[in-house]
Symmetry: C2
Subunit: 746 residues, 2 copies
């Protein structure tokens, strides 16, 4: 936290957190990095202390002078810019992309060459950002949904002065360890907001970013203080438009009236397989109108700078609808022999065609050269960005004086610092507490957390009353009530997941949750994978987690899903068995700030078990009962979720017969993996090979836990439609089966 | 095959197959059930021999008299039907649904009550089918995309005389082992075409069914013989409409101009969370118009029978576009206190409300009662259906005389019987054959199979030139060239998978394949799961199967995908290492007629390895080289796909050092699991615990193969953007790592 002293806001936060925490020692432990790492202040995430101070301090001092800089002013100023200079800047972007792809001999030059004009106008004339603090809270957000065109964004970040993309970074495009990977990755490149590449994800992320802005603005802005106020821009390609996820997200954006979402549709008529005529002949503009968007068509996206500017102006004037600006461009614009064809989409132009393009566009420079006048023109963004942030900081300081409570909540959202004692809100249970479905226990936790976490919001894909996800103290986030926190996603699982990624990546303290039946994670798996990769803390509340849902049958009964997520990197898969474990699962999900968590929850009632705990849950696997001594049980029974109860029953019977039996709850494999070898040995001693696991799902993967001499009881077929108890019995997921297996292996 | 003698067509097929196979013994082995089971003639699939003969024979004899029965005639006849009788039939449907849900105390009465009028008109007045042969080839297809309303379909199948849904089946709705599970399942209930429930899948399946009809009609119909000629009907709900998959499929249906696809949109304004106003306010009709559909609005779907009839007539008149008939209905129509609310969607009405509904609709009957006049009215469908089929059989017999070649191909498609010697078309390779990427070798196989399998068709999600999936002898399946077999799906993975499910389930001999990058199975996982559950033989051609794709980076590099499909029931996950294994993978994929296969294929070149074979591939795991004796190697090295080469290199080095090393290719875990214990022991002897596996993916699951004393080399993190060789080295997926591990464990 060494460099925080240079930041007015973070200073305020630090000092305030001291006073709120009551003692400096607890504050320090809260703020220090730990195995369950807490997010640090966004401004400090990646920029080094040195560069941070160098660039921020002078302009912060000059904040009074620059504080009037606003988007409208920027447009006005820059409409007067010499078009020849604009052209030169646009060609700089094109050639930085061409040269980087050429050097890597890998990449996608077509999109950057076609979209350079809109890219230039956005980053040079329209957007408000601070290159030296990519995490400044009130920045405009930009998402390149057509992520393969990432050289467009890298070129723009480079020109704008972002530290992550220097000339050497452009030259190491797509190389090991570079800041310029093959698709935009927020976790690699400060200045990139989200991780795109898988098509359609980005526009849905953008909907999440715009939702966040609309929500926070409604909650925190005051008639005399518009403290939250930014746009979300996005470039989508034909591929994004074809993906169903973009339809889901766009339908919601229209429904919610996200007026500050402006998406550019790069309408270039080319996809990898050739002309879009072969597979994509719908009327996209008419579709978006049907979804409640404002639609504008820029017919000349190649050189029609004023058309693009006018479209953005018009889009901003429409405040109750998102806007789609369809920009007709030529893919690979400037390449005399390859433009307007798929051959320029995804591979280097080749030396000969690069030369021809240089000739064609009149570009006499060496590779990676940025002409002086272009460099000089863009250089103002560093001081202007610093001024924008400083101006906002002053505004926030005033806001804080007038509205201390709101400011405290907003700060928590901006920094990701969790309020003091938030964990105390989690409910606890005893074996005497009533039996209940973990989906209901989940709702108790959600409602408890909603009271203490200012950035907690979420909802379900039209299953709120089945997933039990309503926060009872809040209303619905809707067009006219955006300050509320229950989000109604409709039956749109994939869009829901990606929108939540956008929310989570908007601000470190926004903690979205979303819900559906566990089996329907199949609909949203691509978004969950992005959560994991992009380090986006989304909490996936997945109920009806096994054959225990009964009559809906095999289409609705997860079998392979637990295994499939245990196999996915950086996902916490949690399957709590009762109330304490459900609370423990939520605690971990909140604390793991760079990891999505999936909670698999039961439809059916489960007893509160003796021995379960919030602390044990944090370890992933732990002993809940044991009548052995010397760490040498005759047999270890291992269960998760709804089957832990069965393991307990089997243990009771076996103990009556004189066996020394340990029962282990294996609520999260990933958390257990993180424990020390000593701890693991204390739970699963290597010498005890008599092990039986039980879980109402595939046995795939369990061999690692039970070993080659143990036995895994599970379900390696699809489920069936019948009352749950009947299916459990027919499939042999019973205490009798555990007892028999235990006798067999011990 | 005992009952086949009663069927003219199947007789013809049997006798013809004898002559084509050259010897009766090869024919018998081809037709007899085996572990790689071949589909039998569709007409014989489920109806028992006895019932089949009883119902078919009389009307087959009367085929001359009935052959004129066609949909248009049917409509004409039935438009004159007494509306009071229609009303009674509609209420019968409603109460069968109410009573079944009530008895099960589980299910969804709301949709059947609202959709009973359109359901009645479809099954009683419009559709052509033969209740006693649910698999009659030229039947109209019906898909209930809103699958939770399955009691609608069960009631209709019951009234129409399908053997699968007798009164006792209705009474065992949602019970263990019944033919009436909680959602429609084609593998449980003859008469149900596809498996629905997961929303949006059904409409995409319907697009696949309609595509199949359009394709086969264009290929096989002659000016004097319209031998393929049926409609595909579908009911979709609000939930289906919100899902992105339905947008993807509908966009393609519009693009392809599927004029014989007629979808009813049950516009009831209610979803589980309440009024659709809370999450779904787009203009669905305008959206479908933008997608190139003809759209009709029936404003009174509750009692407007003539409106519904007129809409269908209009839809049929539009032959170049699919039609969406938006039918505004009242969910739970007839229930005085629960209709038009979410409470009637997904649970039993309860005794009191059932009684109130009986009062309200004037229904004096016992539960499950079908009034005599309704029974009598519907009874004509058995003879009429038999006559329809008999008429078509006569027509086909004439067709066969005039067009024997086309008839032979069509028969193969109808029956699923594979042409003689088709396997001989598969290419083989020697270690001297040039190194090549398995995606390229895959294309050689696809093109070889395209020549010999009449029902082989497919394509890619806009990656044909990367997935290498074009069949070079065919053009594109398009609106104006539907006889062609390369399908251009656009960037719509989820829709693609579900459309292929529809194609595969249209006729036993249609074998669809579809392709994208392996990592994007995440987009289509819900459709792949339906393939597995519905026993739909789709071949998933998944290229770029590891970090070996290089620079595109972690968003494009599969890690957990192999494990995630190995964990899914009834999916064959295949990862061939070279040419012979790729051919072997295709062979198995074709032969496994009730199982989808996923082929994971490399982007990068791989050598042709010594010891690989088509026969070995069929066993899933087999020894490709071994210098040990007595089944006692010092160490067993196990590899899959692109890493088998690495295992071979490591073995070479270890053998130089005097070690006895076995190299095992583990191309498919599922196939290995099917082998005998003796065979398994011959490949992986229990006594040899020194085992090392290598695979460029998660190690999750490998513990079962290598055992607790072995070592699994893999990647348990996300990938990276860099040239492939660099990533392999940095991640330790190298021969050196295998050698070190082998020394460690042996």
């Amino acid at each position: 936290m060494a460099s925080s002293s240079s930041l007015t806001l973070s200073q305020a936060i630090l000092s305030r957190s001291v006073s709120r925490h009551g003692s400096s020692s607890s504050t320090n432990s809260q703020l220090s990095p730990s195995s369950l790492s807490l997010p640090t202040f966004s401004g400090l995430k990646s920029t080094t202390a040195t560069s941070f101070r160098r660039h921020i301090l002078p302009s912060a001092a000059a904040s009074g002078r620059h504080s009037a800089i606003r988007a409208s002013a920027a447009v006005e100023t820059l409409e007067k810019t010499d078009n020849a200079l604009v052209e030169k800047s646009v060609n700089t972007i094109r050639f930085l992309a061409i040269d980087a792809v050429e050097k890597a001999n890998s990449g996608h030059p077509g999109l950057p060459m076609g979209c350079a004009p809109m890219g230039h106008i956005l980053y040079d004339e329209i957007m408000r950002y601070n290159p030296k603090n990519p995490y400044w809270f009130n920045r405009d957000r930009f998402v390149l949904s057509a992520g393969h065109g990432c050289m467009l964004q890298y070129a723009l970040l480079h020109l704008a002065g972002y530290d992550a993309v220097r000339e050497e970074d452009l030259k190491s495009f797509r190389q090991w360890g570079s800041k310029t990977p093959g698709h935009p990755e927020n976790f690699e490149t400060p200045g990139v907001e989200v991780t795109t590449g898988p098509l359609g994800q980005g526009i849905a992320n953008a909907v999440g970013l715009a939702l966040s802005e609309k929500h926070l603005a409604a909650r925190f802005n005051k008639p005399d203080a518009e403290i939250v106020d930014h746009y979300t821009y996005c470039i989508v390609g034909d591929g994004c438009q074809m993906e169903g996820i973009s339809q889901e997200a766009a339908s919601l954006a229209g429904h919610w009236g996200l007026g500050k979402l402006i998406a550019f549709y790069d309408d270039n008529h080319i996809s990898i397989d050739g002309d879009t005529e072969i597979a994509f002949t719908e009327d996209v503009a008419a579709r978006y109108e049907a979804l409640g968007w404002h639609v504008i068509w820029v017919k000349n996206g190649n050189t029609g700078y004023d058309e693009i500017r006018a479209a953005i102006k018009e889009a901003k004037a429409v405040t109750d609808k998102p806007t789609l600006i369809k920009v007709t461009t030529t893919i690979g614009f400037g390449s005399p022999n390859k433009s307007n064809s798929y051959s320029v989409h995804g591979s280097a132009l080749g030396a000969k065609e690069v030369e021809a393009t240089r000739q064609n566009l009149g570009w006499p420079y060496e590779p990676f050269h940025v002409p002086e006048e272009v460099k000089s023109h863009w250089s103002r963004h560093v001081p202007e960005g610093a001024a924008l942030e400083a101006g906002w900081n002053s505004k926030f300081a005033e806001y804080e004086k007038k509205y201390p409570e709101e400011a405290a909540d907003l700060k928590s959202i901006i920094t990701g610092e969790l309020p003091a004692d938030w964990e105390k809100a989690l409910p606890t249970y005893t074996p005497e507490s009533p039996a209940d479905a973990t989906r209901n226990l989940s709702q108790q936790n959600l409602n408890a957390l909603a009271k203490v976490l200012p950035g907690f919001l979420g909802g379900s894909a039209d299953l709120a009353s089945s997933n039990m996800t309503l926060m009872k103290m809040f209303g619905d986030f809707q067009k006219s009530t955006p300050e509320e926190r229950n989000i109604r996603f409709g039956v749109r699982e994939h869009g829901m997941g990606a929108i939540c990624n956008g929310i989570a990546l908007h601000s470190p303290g926004l903690i979205p949750y979303c819900a559906t039946f566990f089996v329907f994670t199949d609909y949203m798996r691509a978004a969950i994978r992005i959560s994991a990769l992009a380090e986006s803390r989304v909490i996936y509340v997945m109920t009806h987690d096994s054959i225990g849902l009964g009559e809906d049958g095999p289409t609705h009964q997860p079998i392979e899903h637990l295994a499939s997520f245990r196999a996915m990197p950086n996902v916490l898969m949690l399957r709590p068995a009762d109330g304490n474990e459900t609370a423990g699962a939520y605690r971990v999900a909140i604390l793991k700030s760079k990891t999505p968590s999936i909670l698999a929850l039961s439809r059916q009632k489960l007893p509160q078990l003796a021995g379960t705990s919030i602390e044990g849950t944090a370890k992933g696997g732990y002993t809940i009962s044991d009548n052995s001594s010397g760490n040498k049980p005759d047999v270890i029974l291992i269960g998760t979720g709804s089957e832990l109860e069965i393991a307990v029953k089997a243990a009771d019977e076996l103990r009556k017969e004189g066996k020394a039996v340990r029962v282990v709850s294996f609520v999260s494999w990933e958390l257990f993996d993180e424990q020390s070898a000593e701890y693991k040995e204390s739970v699963l001693p290597a010498a005890v090979t008599a092990r039986v696991s039980i879980e109402a799902g595939t046995t795939f993967g369990w061999a690692k836990i039970v070993g080659s001499k143990g036995k895994a009881i599970g379900i390696d077929r699809f489920g069936a439609s019948a009352p749950a108890g009947k299916i459990y019995k027919e499939f042999g997921i019973t205490a009798e089966a555990v007892i028999a297996a235990a006798k067999q292996v011990s």
